[in-house]
């Protein structure tokens, strides 16, 4: 049986919290292995600052901010809204959810942008979806929905199918104006191209001008928009806009039952769907108190690592295409195609499998599964080798990647980086090692780290992680083969046909897995019914992309291509 060891760390963390910073906490409770501390809105900022800087707590990573509208909960709560700050200490490996209760009238809470840089976007998202005001936020605008959207869609009194027609386009000039003012560059001195015939003049005079990139530009993968002010080819200011693929996943999930959520998770990070399925099921299992069998756990490891390989292949290939290297893409994609074949034999689908169920897998896998996986793994090494030889010492690749989009570990943590992007800065944090699940701690593999935190490192962390994943799969398969067959079901045991009804007990849980892009987490609130009351997806892409301003300002436009490629932006995950 695979035990989840997070409860022990939570206990010590609970004691430490009470001991160190007892005063601010109204209530401290542990449900489903998740530690919740309730604080008053006024003391929130001070409390978070204390636990961030406290030497024995050190909550250095703000994982997510989840809003909850408790309107339909029974029994009714005195305060309508909750804002939950999910924190992680990467040093001591403990987690904490800080809960703030807010009334229905003008819900307002102090902004924590000054403490964690990622809070900027997460607060904007919560404002957008719930209408909660973050006092002191420098730019409290909608993040996912369009500007003239009326109402807040994740409030329980917003009907799911209330559509609002087509948006006005947002020029983003107001944000750019503030940024340029900070650089002592008033907007009047900047030429706006595209609507005048002064483009050439602007070039000659070396006057900064404005270039809009996206959302239909090939480098931004159809879903991002960037407004840049450039001087020559250097970006002096940049304003990102996201939300073009916001498809209301979280609202739809609230209207589906627990099993129907699985297909929605497939389409979050569609480069590695299986991993999302597993992440979601693991969170619900934690809520239900289910421990899965060793066989299932090992199978899940195999699928997770296959998905990681798929994701890294898909990130690396198009990244190289964006830089002008088409050949490696064909090599890399062929392996993906081989993995598709295996997954198709299992689930019938090539990309969106949905073949993980809460508690187990729905059916036994075909006989030659292990042989097929081993064949793919064998093919993998020469391909990776070939691609490495094509780019590793390639002058052009060097010039486009080394020292481009550099970020320090401290900044990366402030922006909520996890996964390969964090490891590229030289910080060896991997949930598979730090908070092992499914028995990852018993497998032999290395955490790949970079040194510089630049685009080159991010690329190669992914490439070498593919090799590590292959190592894990080999060991997991070896162990699966050695497992004794399951004992036959006892006489008279009831066999469930179709889906078993799932209704986790009332409460909330946060659970995370190490997905291909970083920490993929699910904050789930259950009211004991057949549908999730609220589910917040912690998306690694969103956090990684939130640093784009810092990464790209001062770089050239061509570098932007390289930076976005190396961050691996997956629209379904970033916008949900």
């Amino acid at each position: 049986m695979i035990e989840n060891n997070s409860s022990t760390t939570a206990n010590t963390c609970k004691d430490l919290l009470a001991l160190q910073i007892g005063g601010d906490i109204i209530a401290l409770e542990e449900t489903n292995g998740t530690l919740f501390a309730t604080v008053a809105p006024d003391s929130l900022h001070g409390f978070l600052a204390k636990i961030r800087d406290n030497q024995v707590l050190k909550f250095d990573l703000l994982v997510d901010i989840a809003g909850v509208d408790t309107l339909l909960l029974t029994p009714a709560l005195p305060d309508r809204f909750q804002v939950v700050y999910i924190l992680l200490s990467t040093v001591f490996n403990h987690r904490l959810c800080v809960k703030v209760n807010l009334g229905a009238e003008n819900p307002s809470v102090p902004s924590i942008c000054g403490l964690y840089k990622i809070a900027n976007w997460l607060e904007r998202e919560t404002f957008d979806q719930f209408g909660i005001i973050f006092a002191g936020h420098p730019n409290l605008k909608r993040l996912l929905n369009f500007k003239n959207f009326v109402g807040h869609p994740l409030r329980k009194d917003y009907p799911i199918d209330k559509r609002q027609g087509f948006p006005e386009s947002e020029d983003l000039l107001d944000e750019l104006k503030t940024k340029l003012a900070r650089l002592n560059r008033p907007i009047d001195s900047v030429k706006i191209t595209g609507c005048t015939n002064e483009t050439d003049a602007a070039m000659d005079d070396n006057v900064p001008f404005i270039v809009n990139i996206g959302p239909a530009h090939p480098i931004v993968h159809g879903i991002l928009r960037l407004l840049t002010a450039v001087e020559g080819e250097t970006i002096i200011a940049l304003v990102p806009e996201i939300g073009y693929l916001h498809r209301g996943v979280e609202k739809s999930i609230e209207n589906s039952n627990w099993h129907q959520v699985v297909p929605y998770t497939d389409r979050l990070n569609y480069a590695s769907p299986m991993m999302n399925n597993i992440g979601y099921c693991k969170a619900v299992e934690k809520m239900l108190g289910i421990t899965i069998s060793e066989r299932n756990a090992l199978y899940r490891i195999v699928f997770c690592e296959l998905a990681r390989i798929m994701d890294h292949l898909l990130c690396s290939g198009p990244h190289l295409i964006d830089l002008g290297a088409l050949t490696p893409f064909w090599y890399l994609f062929q392996i993906r195609e081989n993995i598709y074949d295996i997954m198709e034999k299992i689930s019938g689908a090539r990309l969106t499998y949905s073949c993980v169920r809460i508690g187990a897998f729905p059916y036994p896998f075909y006989d030659a599964f292990f042989d097929d996986v081993e064949t793919v793994i064998k093919k993998l090494a020469p391909v990776i080798d070939e691609v490495r030889r094509l780019v590793e010492r390639n002058r052009i690749f060097f010039d486009r990647c080394v020292d481009i989009g550099k970020i320090s570990t401290a900044d990366a943590l402030a922006y909520g980086f996890t996964g390969p992007c964090l490891r590229a800065t030289g910080y060896a944090y991997d949930l598979r090692k730090a908070q092992p699940y499914y028995g990852y701690d018993t497998l032999d593999f290395d955490v790949v780290v970079g040194t510089n935190g630049d685009t080159y490192d991010r690329f190669f962390v992914r490439i070498y992680e593919i090799i590590e994943s292959a190592k894990i799969i080999r060991q997991a398969i070896k162990r699966l083969k050695e497992l004794p067959p399951d004992p036959p079901a006892a006489e008279g045991a009831k066999k469930t046909k179709g889906f078993k009804k799932v209704a986790p007990p009332t409460g909330a849980v946060y659970d995370a897995t190490e997905a291909a892009n970083g920490e993929l987490g699910f904050y789930i609130v259950s009211d004991g019914s057949a549908k999730p009351y609220r589910m917040k997806v912690r998306s690694p892409s969103l956090c990684n992309y939130s640093a784009i301003e810092q990464l790209a300002e001062g770089a050239m436009i061509a570098d932007l291509v390289s930076i976005i490629g190396s961050l691996n932006i997956i629209g379904g995950e970033i916008d949900r």
């Binding site: 609002q164 879903i223 693929l245 916001h246 994609f333 598709y340 969106t352």
Partner: protein, 159 residues
Amino acid sequence: MGIETAFGQSWITARIDDVVNWGRANSPWPYVFGTACCAIEFMSTAASHFDISRFGAENIRWTPRQADMLIVAGTISYKQAPVLKRIYEQMCEPKWVIAVGACACSGGFYNNYCTVQGISEIVPVDIFVPGCPPRAEAIFDAVIKLQKKISKESVLDRK
């Protein structure tokens, strides 16, 4: 050893429709408006295993002004919709639209406040491809169906 050696310096007579449509049908230049999962499946379609160039549609353009086949692969949200419409308007005639996947066809299972329930609300669609996401073969099928459709057109249709 092409057709020219067999015929020498001779004449061929044909209807102008046939000649034009033959050219148009066999080299549709796609602009891939890929937003979501279906775009990943389109990558498969374009990659070496399936190879869309067998149907003359491998010349993927990154600007709508050079393309004549708009492939909408992925969910279109209301925020994205004006962008799609503008892309369509920027394309030169003649132009055709393929809606790839359940989301582009009907909104798929995103029946909610922010998803357009089918791109036919915004742009005229020639071929709908079902699937979530459709397999590469389904996209080929759409291209072949479009080729058949093109070959039945008349140059006088788009005066």
